[in-house]
């Protein structure tokens, strides 16, 4: 009996596998596709788009894909002028960018591609700081804290009376925008006296060599440097999405308990460009391969249903942002995202 059950399972697994293969291969293999697809934007989304572009060009050698690295803001500036086909974005589009798009009659389709956790990290020799509440983070990072909150015991009296050294993502990055929105409550507002770098490895080195350091950056960088860094668990003091302080892991990011420092990341497709067959196929390919490739380069993929829904939205050419063009928004769980995708 048991054996048979196993065999049945094997067979059904095989069937699923076969249908997937068929689904992928039945869609006309337009190997003769040609053209140039221009992508630019966030350095956070870059590794995923790079991976998709690499695989895409293996399948369609006639298509050239270029991916730039101007940051989310820089990417939207080019996208809004109609200079690129796709914008990589680590936060939703902002009002000023929506305006630019309208001015140049650029319509866009917003598609989520993965989840990214922002991790708060300290040096491994730091024994006291294992968790922080969002309030404490706000007290530390808000603009008023500049030159005032400079010692660990100012955050919690039981922590040592030692200086605190802050490290964070550069102010042009979507990561910084999101962190400030989530922690301070206002996008792009924080104290200025911290070591900022667009290059997250500089931050990793900084924290790894400084016992009194605290910093934030993408979860992918923690995964690669686990021996040099220590994660801080975050408590948003909202028992509805998990009690107490929660450490970022792929599971807690996906099930929505690691909040507010988990966020979806996106690509924005120019609607007019989407009518070109090579761009259309690239986006379709992105929604099919994006999940596994995102995982491979260190991000947390969305559930399969999210990609299916997003692809459906793309096929219907549903334009605009589900975030209403207001920039970073905090606490967007997978469920909210899926619900919004169904529109």
């Amino acid at each position: 009996m048991l054996k048979e059950k196993g065999r049945m399972r094997q067979a059904s697994l095989f069937l699923v596998f076969l249908t997937t293969i068929l689904c992928i291969s039945i869609t006309p293999a337009r190997a003769e596709l040609k053209g140039l697809i221009k992508v630019d934007g966030s350095s956070t989304v870059f590794p995923i788009t790079e991976a998709v572009a690499e695989e895409f060009q293996k399948k369609y050698p006639g298509v050239k894909v270029t991916v730039g690295l101007s940051g989310t803001g820089g990417g939207f500036k080019k996208f809004g002028r109609g200079e690129t086909d796709i914008a990589n974005a680590s936060r939703p589009i902002k009002p000023s960018e929506v305006e630019l798009c309208q001015k140049n009659r650029v319509e866009y389709i917003e598609l989520p591609v993965a989840y990214d956790g922002l991790a708060v990290m300290v040096n491994p020799k730091n024994t006291w700081c294992t968790s922080m509440t969002v309030k404490e983070l706000k007290k530390l990072w808000e603009p008023e804290a500049q030159e005032k909150v400079t010692r660990w015991n100012q955050i919690r009296p039981e922590w040592p009376d030692k200086e605190i050294h802050l490290f964070g993502a550069g102010v042009d990055s979507g990561t910084y925008d999101y962190f400030t929105e989530a922690v301070v409550g206002k996008e792009h507002a924080s104290r200025g006296d911290f070591t900022a770098s667009e290059d997250d490895n500089v931050l990793v080195q900084g924290i790894a060599m400084d016992e009194l350091a605290l910093g934030f950056f993408g979860f992918a960088y923690y995964e690669q440097n686990q021996d040099k860094l220590k994660l801080v668990a975050i408590d948003d003091e909202n028992p509805e999405n998990g009690q107490g302080p929660i450490l970022p892991t792929p599971e807690t990011v996906l099930n929505g308990t690691y909040q507010p420092l988990a966020r979806p990341i996106f690509i924005y497709v120019n609607r007019q460009s989407a009518n070109r067959p090579e761009v259309e196929e690239f986006v379709r390919f992105y929604m099919i391969m994006g999940g596994p490739l995102a995982k491979e380069v260190g991000y947390i993929p969305l559930p399969d249903r999210a990609y299916t829904l997003a692809l459906d939205r793309f096929k219907r050419r549903f334009t605009g942002s589900i975030f209403g063009g207001k920039g970073s928004q905090v606490g967007v769980s997978i469920e909210t995202l899926l619900l919004a995708e169904q529109k």
Binding site: F46, T66, G68, L69, S70, D199, N201, G218
Partner: protein, 296 residues
């Protein structure tokens, strides 16, 4: 040039003892400065070589970028850099040397030429990112070159022009007036004097200055990033209007990736960039020696 500053030590009067001690102090300070500079360079080189030399192989030189560090390579970046610098040379060299000849040989020395002179010297000190912004507005947007090889080369040409003009002028100025006078004395015209006397003598100096300027340009990242040269390009440039990437951009990208493999790749790419730089400087020295021998 050397002869001008060459002082014969024997004839220097040794009037004061303090002078000797001063000289000793100065000499040791200069020596410390030299050791310090070299030490920094050695540390940098050793660090980069330790990280990257094992990664250097044929596959690395002939592969396109990839998400897998061990499969990634610098072909697009290397070819992009080579095309970029060749085009830059084609634009900047004739313009720069032409401007230098005009300023030195033809232009009247009045307030206008002095204003131009001061401005060129100032331009040579302008941060490269400013040239990037100029290139973005002028070439990429106004002249609609897009983010192409051509736009990149034009921007780079602007960046190196002041340096080429200044070093070419120095070289032309170093040609003794007596040679020009001799040439005029045998009935040569101004053009003939420049063509057959001044330029050949100044040429080694002009070349050295120019190639050093291009060596600087090949390591520049800021202007290229500003005009929007791309990071992921998995094809070779096909023409003047083709999108492109360059070595410093590829290095910049790899350095900021989380995976260790990319850091190794960055170190290996730095070694390649260093080798290209050394080759360019070697060519400069070789050309200089060759022309100098011919003339004397």
């Amino acid at each position: 040039m050397k002869g001008l500053y060459h002082i014969e030590h024997r004839k220097m009067p040794t009037r004061r003892r303090r002078g000797r001690r001063g000289e000793w102090i100065f000499q040791s300070m200069a020596f410390v400065a030299l050791v310090f500079t070299i030490a920094v360079l050695v540390v940098l080189l050793v660090d980069v070589f330790r990280d990257g030399v094992l990664r250097l192989n044929w596959q690395f030189l002939t592969s396109f970028p990839s998400r897998k560090p061990e499969l990634a390579g610098i072909l697009a970046a290397l070819v992009g850099s080579a095309c970029l610098i060749t085009l830059t040379a084609l634009f900047a060299f004739p313009l720069g040397v032409g401007a230098a000849i005009y300023l030195e040989e033809y232009a009247r020395k009045n307030w206008l030429s002095r204003v131009i002179e001061v401005n060129i010297a100032n331009l040579a000190g302008v941060p490269s990112i400013i040239y990037g912004l100029l290139g973005l507005e002028l070439f990429v947007r106004m002249m609609r070159m897009d983010r192409s090889l051509l736009a990149g080369a034009c921007t780079m040409a602007l960046l190196v022009l002041p340096i080429i003009i200044i070093s070419s002028r120095e070289a032309i100025r170093a040609v003794p007036v007596s040679i020009r006078e001799a040439s005029y004395a045998v009935g040569a015209t101004r053009w003939q004097t420049i063509r057959y006397q001044v330029l050949p003598l100044a040429f080694p100096g002009i070349l050295t200055g120019t190639i050093l300027a291009f060596s600087r340009a090949i390591g520049e990242t800021a202007p290229l990033i500003t005009i929007g040269a791309l990071t992921y390009v998995a094809f070779l440039p096909t023409g003047l209007f083709s999108p492109f990437t360059a070595l410093p951009i590829q290095i910049f990208n790899w350095v900021s990736r989380p995976q260790k493999g990319f850091l190794t790749n960055a170190a290996a790419a730095i070694i390649v960039l260093l080798i290209v730089l050394l080759l360019m400087n070697a060519v400069a020295i070789w050309l200089r020696n060759r022309y100098q021998k011919k003339l004397y």
